[in-house]
Amino acid sequence: MLFSLLLAHPLLIQPAFAWRHTGFAWSPDDDCQEYDSEGNAVTEDDGRLRRCWYLDDNIEDSLPQDDVDGDGMPDAQFDELQSAWDNWEDAAQCAAIANEYMGSDDFGLRAYDGATVLFYEDPGDEVAVGVLGVTYSIPDGASVTWNDQRYSHLGDTDIVFNDQVDWATAADIDAGICNNETSIQAVATHEIGHSWGLGHSCEEHESGCSELYTSATMNWASGSCDTHQDVPNSDDVTSITNIYGPSVLIEGAHTGTSDRTGAVPWDVTFTATVGGDDSVVVVSQHWNFGDGEESDEINPTHTYTSVGQFSVTASVVIESDVCEPQTVQSTSLGYVVACEPPVPEEGADGFFEMQVLDGLEWQTVNHTDVSTYGCVDTIVWEVYKGSGEGDISDANKVDFNGDDAGGDTIGAWAPKITFPEAGDYVIVMNVGGPAGLQAGFLHVTASDSSGGCASAPGAAGSMVAGLAGLALLGRRRRA
């Protein structure tokens, strides 16, 4: 049942966290060890998942070229990347992760070889202008479970840094030696986060991202002469700890219309569960529901009464042997979308109006409120010959494409409508979302010459079979 649901509605299911992992993770079996000539592990097995990584031997000429150790690789080129790997371990001490550098070689083109290779060039010419680095994460078809959560198992990750970027070391930038260069350590820390399985904390042009997410290492962008992303922040730490350390999972149970969307007033029961070591104990919970309301209840029920997309935060204090003697505070966050049936935007007289452009050609002007993305997801326009609600029937539906297969519908947001001939028409707009549907009409008189007029509907009511909406109050506007 669960499986079929996932396949049937793949786009409606989102991870429960605002920090987003890509859905991929390594498994404990991917622990990497370096062995000596006698087959003995060089590094002590400390119970951490140790990822081995390699460096392609291409020389990056924008970084300092000092080679004190004489290995043919400029020291900065390796040191910055080693620091980037270590930044995660230093910041996320409750995540059982580690790294091991395995050496440099000429790897040529990026390949599906199971080895995590970092390239200071773009061997496949795949990286666009403005892209600083790319992590290519390829799962192998298996799955892996961490903290009762199943992930696609990673088979390979490679990281490519754009070879047309001027890079600088963190030390130089922090010393003020920077002229629009980009911190290789900051970008590498970000990309290595991807290679562990993390997604972006916030995407470009995404609304509703708080400073916590825009300041994170896993934010989508990295600025010039800026090293702040060298150090993973609390959101980054929570993200990686939730996979490889003691985890906190927010769940929401409700009777809404889709996984994260419901109609106001909307009751949602939130629960925070912990996974990982059996010793994990929840000490307290604090909830922020995103609409100005907060609670210290354990697994509270909250009623959303206003429309909007709301970020939900649970601060859960746990104690775990994994991180003894520390107490770990995990903050996980998700969002819910509370909706009402579509309404006109504030200040509008109605849902839509009609403007005559030239004779039979008219422009619809759509005033439906779309301020909360997800609350409107359907729109259908229909045109009928006639002058009133009584003319709305299949027999009068206008056939725009001339296929004689019945009247047509239009799915554009605000379409231009060219009437087939002069006369009276009724334009019907059906607009809907998870909280309900609205439908309404407007009467226009189209003429062959420039001009024409539109009039408001005479009565409210459900006009289209199957829709329990109100009549839309159209507004007259002359061009």
């Binding site: 992992h21 859905g23 990286v127 892209v131 972006h200």
Partner: protein, 222 residues
């Protein structure tokens, strides 16, 4: 689903795992290519673009490339502000977008632009060697043209939702009235930059040689 309620805690990994099992083969399991981007100004995006064009999306399809799933987008060119686009016989440019959906399998690319058929767009494009194009700065090099309901004129919007949310350009929120940028104003700003020329400053990801070849230098710039 019963009245007991819906649970929305399922992480994407569960979904991807299920899809991977359904796909049945290594070659078509979902993959993720995640990026770190430079924050580029509109002027930098203009300077770095081989072609800047306005058009309408007419077709979308995905295929399996050498390194995973790619989405191909055909855009019927309405008019061009910079460069000379390589078009097919129908006057369409082809955009290559990393990632996409193919036969129920997904490749997710953080930061990649998303398109819909019928969408009116302004595109800032980097030409590939095969004659197709990439968006400069990924999603930064794409504007959606939509109606400003205040005056029924065209405005431009850049809007994203996380890759795991359904995306439909028709329902993009309108910016606040004070933040709305008309299509005419965007095109005027782009044209002004093209006329003024490149300032000679480096742009992350673009070679100076290429920038010189596609722009004229501002007076006094080196």
């Amino acid at each position: 689903m019963s009245d007991a309620g819906r649970i929305f805690s399922l992480p994407l990994g569960v979904l991807l795992g299920a899809l991977a099992l359904a796909g049945g083969g290594v070659s078509l399991v979902p993959s993720a290519h995640a990026t770190s981007l430079a924050t580029l100004s509109l002027e930098q995006l203009v300077d770095a673009s081989d072609v800047i064009t306005r058009g309408t999306v007419t077709d979308l399809w995905a295929d399996l490339g050498e390194h995973g799933i790619n989405t191909h987008v055909l855009v019927a060119v309405d008019h061009t502000l910079k460069g000379t686009p390589i078009v097919n016989s129908a006057g369409q440019v082809e955009i290559l977008v990393p990632g996409g959906e193919l036969d129920g399998n997904y490749s997710l690319v953080s930061g990649a632009p998303r398109y819909g058929i019928g969408e009116s767009v302004v595109l800032l494009l980097e030409q590939r060697t095969d004659g197709t194009y990439l968006n400069v700065g990924l999603a930064g090099g794409k504007y959606t043209v939509k109606q400003n309901p205040a005056d029924a004129t065209d405005m431009v919007v850049q809007f994203a939702v996380p890759y795991d949310r359904k995306w439909d350009y028709r329902f993009i929120p309108n910016p606040a009235v004070a933040d709305r940028v008309s299509l005419a104003a965007l095109e005027a700003r782009i044209s002004a930059r093209i006329t003024l020329g490149w300032d000679g400053q480096a742009i992350p990801g673009a070679s100076l040689e290429h920038l010189r070849s596609i722009n004229h230098l501002q007076a006094g710039a080196r």
